[in-house]
Amino acid sequence: MNKIFETPIYAYKHSPDQDASTPVRHKVIVVGAGPVGLAAAIDLAQQGVEVLVLDDNDKVSFGSRAICFAKRPLDILDRLGCGQPMVDKGVLWNQGKVFFDDREVYGFDLLPEKGHRRPAFINLQQYYFEEYLVNRVRELEAEGAPIEIRGRNKVSAVGTHPEHVVLEVDTPDGSYNIEADWVIACDGANSPMRRMMGLDFVGRVFEDNFLIADVIMDADFPTERWFWFDPPFNRGQSALLHKQPDNVWRIDLQLGWDIDKEREKRPENVIPRLKEMLGDEVEFELEWVSIYTFQCRRMEQFRHGRVVFAGDSAHQVSPFGARGANSGIQDTDNLCWKLKLVMDGKAPEALLDSYDTERVHGADENILNSTRSTDFITPKSEVSRLIRDAVLDLAEHYEFARPLVNSGRLSVPCTYDGSPLNSADALGGPARTRPGSACPDAPLGDAFLLSKLGDGFTLMTIDADAPDEIEEDGIVVKRLALSVKDDPTYELKRRYLGDNDSAVYLIRPDQHVAARRPGFDDNQFRHAIRRATGKE
């Protein structure tokens, strides 16, 4: 049987656009059908925006690639109507072990916080992730939503204009031109769109190579994240073992800089390395092998007129901490509602500048974290190795040193502190729900808070009065009336009220807090709505 990633799932079909005498104009064209492009398209189509996805091939990701998906993207996928299949298929894990040299230094249990619908993270091959997104696209198509994917449609030239973009697209039947009011470029770290537009992509190159191998084995390793520093089977380097669904295990081996990539990738060279790591008695089959290098860098700005970059095309990080696909999904979550309001004439184009501000902030946070992890995992000088090894030695004996061990700080949602869309905090409530924060989930009896927030602006009241709906200059805000009594576990109170008896939150369509006050004040909230939509 063919693997899912060997099967065309959006095969090329000739489009009437290819025979049009003048280029057909679309509302939004998304370039790239990876996790980020598909999430963008689903988000827009769900809001009724006509969207066309162009991809240079016709299959899901070849090999597992991104495998760790964090809670925030899962929450976003719930809003996009496809969180459940991901969580059903994904592997849940909370425990891990750290090894140094030939010994186990310590084990950990991340003990996830209770009262969330979704786990802190799941492991899932990128090909499944993309398959479930494509399934969601098909579901939307069947419901009549204005969404289409065109496989083997490769953008070969870009023309930018003040009010639109022209793309030249190569297909098996030759090339054609097509236009869009807006283009979202989700075409990956090597983004041809970025290159064709001659845009910068600056940052730090890490001189290192990593071998990724996915092996299929019936081993009784526990469902844990195992990380080795300087193990006997990979001297002076690091290694990672992590479980994916279907008995597939991800193995990551650091190889160093000065290697022959083609040689290292050959099964006859990979298999002995893996045997040394897993033990001779373990039977396994290689599913996929790849060697990667990485860089930490970003574009100076993500929006260039009518072309907006999202995901790896805009920013690239080291893989430690699962901050690639996870942050890309947060990009489109941030972008799509803004684009929709601008396209509908309900917000000024300036609202899109806040996409730049907020997601550049997010990218910088991810670059900082992943750079620090990389510096710990692959020390670049004698003294940094000395200090790193001291941390690992101490961690074996003393608990205090364990938080200093950095084998990747897993992706957590970015708080948009200082965003021009935030109103000053008038509640003084818990820090985790201050303006700019992604709303943390909370249990509400049999249901959960985030599933009640929807796609639009929400006025969430907790033991406070407010109108059921406010409309301010075309923006409709619907009330969600809650009481601390709705949650007998008091998480809602702990996360949203703190010491206060009541609160009113203005929540953006991407579930980030825009404003909060102890009670409803018509004038103040109208200001907050204007601010959150780029009008003040």
Binding site: L386, I387, D389, A390, V391, D393, L394, Y398, F400, A401, L404
Partner: protein, 67 residues
Amino acid sequence: MAELILTPNLDAPDDFYADLLATHETLDKVESDALNARLILVLANHIGDRDVLTQALAAAAPKEDTQ
């Protein structure tokens, strides 16, 4: 902000100095370097205060006038 103590604060400075040397006595350069690194981390954790540690890093850094 907590102040880093840069005035004499050790009860018996000669005793501490002797203990420090004794700890290193049988070690070679590599082992001694590793011990020093561990010692810094143990002490830093005990201090715990970021402000004090920042001042300590600055106090220990090479002085411009001596370079």
